[in-house]
């Protein structure tokens, strides 16, 4: 029961506390890439924690409730239920729950991916329609005849990515600014940010009702834009990116603007101010390694927790041997060191889980 509680507590910690921490920390704007790694690791850790607790609960809840109800012996209970068909349904409630959630996850993912795919293929049709560009500026980019200024990328499979630039944007921006914007879009494609956004949206669809990880979709969008801004600025300069962004933003009424930021999470004003401040931390020193270690820990802690009880009885076969030697020596009246504390644990074979499980009280 302790293990299940630990996993649920850990998942809650990630889902609420780490969520707020990563949303409100100032350092994320200095190192958006590191922040993105930590976000994804937290979500993976959360999902593993919840799934893990369901798997662990399956063993605990039934046995404990029957022990209390019937004053039955734990060992006998375990032997009794490990192979019985009648209690299969009860036994597997949490596994059913896990299977149902996984199926729901897959269905939501399939629907979102196919909707996005249809929308993107429409834009690819439009992109392929355009005559190919002679200008070196626009290598690999499609120019669309449209008065309003817009530049966007259409992700796809290998070789199917497209970047579209309207004629409005082409005439609005200087060559450097246009190159910076195109580099920004190329970064999105290279880092596959659309995949991260899709994953965040799927997680939000499934879990949003509970309020857990509620800032994830918005923050992934916000941080992805910053990462792309950084890559573009590295090549073309902060000012080129900032000016291009300012020129291309449409100016709205105050009410409209607020709603949009809340929905998309990527605030152009914040991005411009950030580029002008130039307070980004360089990607050197121990920081990247620390972030990798932190991310791996966040994601894999539930697995480590689940394996710990099994690790404690690793080598228990030696304890059994020692116990039988002890019994033999005792019968011969020879002085022998008593076996280790592992002999306090009763090892029982479990048909249901096909492993040995220590039944500690």
């Amino acid at each position: 029961m302790i293990l299940a509680t630990v996993l649920v507590a850990y998942a809650s910690f990630l889902g609420w506390v780490v969520d707020i921490f990563l949303t409100r920390s100032a350092w994320v704007t200095r190192s958006p890439r590191a922040a993105l790694h930590l976000w994804h690791a937290s979500v993976v850790g959360f999902l593993l924690g919840v799934a893990g607790s369901l798997v662990v609960v399956e063993h605990d809840v039934l046995e404990h409730s029957l022990m209390w109800l019937l004053h039955a012996d734990k060992g006998l209970l375990h032997l009794a239920y490990s192979g019985s068909n009648q209690v299969d349904e009860l036994w597997n409630v949490s596994i059913l729950l896990l299977a149902a959630t996984t199926t729901l996850f897959i269905c939501v993912a399939a629907k979102k991916i196919s909707t996005a795919g249809r929308e993107r293929s429409a834009h690819r049709v439009m992109a392929t329609m355009q005559p190919s560009q002679e200008s070196p500026n626009l290598n690999g980019v499609s120019l669309v005849d449209h008065a309003a200024a817009a530049v966007y990328c259409v992700p796809g499979r290998r070789g199917e990515n497209r970047i579209l630039v309207t004629s409005g944007a082409y005439s609005l921006l200087t060559p450097d600014q246009l190159s910076a914007v195109i580099e920004h879009e190329r970064t999105h494609l290279r880092h596959r940010h659309h995949g991260a956004i899709m994953f965040a949206d799927i997680v939000h669809t499934l879990l949003g009702w509970s309020g857990v990880l509620r800032h994830y979709p918005q923050q992934v969008r916000r941080l992805s834009e910053m990462v792309a801004d950084d890559c573009a600025a590295k090549r073309w300069g902060d000012r080129a990116v900032a000016t291009a962004l300012l020129k291309m933003c449409t100016v709205s009424t105050p009410e409209q603007g607020h709603n949009l930021v809340a929905m998309t999470g990527a605030d152009p004003a914040e991005r411009i101010r950030r580029l002008l401040a130039d307070s980004r931390s360089p990607n050197v020193g121990p920081f990247p390694r620390l972030v990798s270690v932190a991310a791996a820990t966040l994601a894999l802690f539930p697995l480590a927790a689940i394996l710990t009880p099994a690790a404690r009885i690793a080598g228990s076969v030696h304890a059994e041997q020692a116990a039988s030697e002890f019994a033999k020596a005792e019968s011969q009246n020879a002085p022998v060191k008593p076996p280790t504390r592992f002999d306090q644990i009763e090892i029982l074979p479990c048909a249901a889980c096909a492993s040995t499980w220590p039944l500690t009280t």
């Binding site: 909707t115 049709v125 309003a148």
Partner: protein
């Protein structure tokens, strides 16, 4: 092998270029100039485009001829309106470079950019 997405794009482009009703056979012949495609593949994708509302067909003897339901320009305009419609940005299917700013912010940022430009154009000693 290219995905159906690319083939849809190629078929639409061909139909728009021709400007007149086309048969699947003529599409297959033209497309096979650049790569090998089975007749069944092309007709599957053409039918799918028809289901999406991009193509209509009229009977022509034993087979059909296909035309585009909207012109290439109208198609572009419709898609671009979708991109520029700010409220549609939620899905994350596309990633657009810029968004919206409110007027006060826009003015403040313009001033900040101008200041930054003035700063960096001063000789290094004076900064």
């Amino acid at each position: 092998m290219r995905s159906f997405g690319e083939l849809e794009a190629d078929i639409m482009r061909l139909v728009w270029e021709r400007g007149e009703p086309v048969t699947v056979r003529s599409l297959v012949d033209t497309l096979n100039e650049s790569r090998t495609l089975a007749y069944t593949t092309v007709i599957t994708v053409t039918e799918r485009l028809r289901e999406k509302g991009l193509l209509t067909r009229t009977r022509f003897g034993k087979s059909y001829r296909y035309t585009a339901t909207i012109s290439a320009d109208d198609y572009s305009a419709r898609l671009m309106a979708q991109v520029l419609d700010a409220s549609d940005d939620r899905s994350g299917a596309l990633m657009r470079f810029a968004g919206q700013l409110n007027p006060t912010e826009a003015d403040a940022l313009r001033a900040a950019l101008a200041r930054d430009a003035a700063e960096t154009s001063k000789p290094a000693r004076q900064r």
